[in-house]
Subunit: 126 residues, 2 copies
DNA sequence: TATGGTACTAACAAATTTGTAAGTAATGGG
DNA sequence: CCCATTACTTACAAATTTGTTAGTACCATA
């Protein structure tokens, strides 16, 4: 998000992991704090910057910008700027991002199930 | 991983996001640096602490311990301690974690495809 | 001339994650 | 008693991510 150091152990490890494990690679692509929420909002079509900001409670303009930029760089969203004043910019999913949709639906179901299990195991251990 | 502050904006945001989006919730469960790699190693059965350490290049004992502890707390792995000296401990996937396997296979395929697309778009833009 | 709306950017600070280096406990074998 | 082995812990430091606050540019409208 800011610049990263070039040869920190941290970064070398990340490179190694994402190169040797496509799964880790995939999860890293969608792994920023707000990225999945943004992608979900875009599932039904284009949205403007301000629409995203208003639909995502708690996100700051800076964070929204950062995450959008990364998603764009990674080819998951397409950014369109209209030559108007005041500015208008919209964002939409790319094809490769749309291919994620069925997968993330399953993952979302898994998450819901996991959440329940964890809750019931916590309450039963009281 | 270390303790977290109780009411930082950061933490409040995370709580809000994972509560309102099961997908984000799910990804957070598997979102530490080494977690997916660990889970993948366990896909074929139990492994001891030292086996994991040896199979995962670059991980330190501290990181391995931390990630294993979190995975355990989240109910994704089961830890078994044998009353021996020197100690023997092994780790295995839980049922709910095994349910992730088909999903992560798809995600892994997606990752491989995405990697190719990104590479070709980078090289074509030179 | 001042104001407003939109989509940002910049400088900085705080929080969180990750890595380094060293140490611990328990016990069997020499 | 001393050492080796295994699975950790602890204290600390570095790196990275996230959040705060205050701007910016543009032009239309009042």
């Amino acid at each position: 998000m800011g610049k990263r150091k070039e040869n920190s152990t941290n970064m070398l490890n990340e490179n190694y992991i994402t190169e040797s494990c496509n799964l880790t690679y995939a999860v890293c692509k969608i792994g920023g704090r707000w990225k999945l929420l943004i992608l979900c909002k875009l599932e039904n079509g284009k949205l403007r910057f301000s629409e995203l900001r208003n639909q995502i409670k708690g996100i700051t303009e800076r964070m929204l910008t950062l995450q959008l930029r990364e998603l764009e760089k990674e080819g998951l969203i397409k950014r369109t700027v209209y030559a108007e004043v005041p500015p208008r910019v919209d964002y939409e999913l790319t094809e490769i991002a749309k291919e994620l949709v069925p997968i993330w639906n399953q993952l979302s179901n898994w998450g819901a199930k996991h959440k329940e299990i964890l809750l019931s195991s916590v309450s039963s251990s009281i």
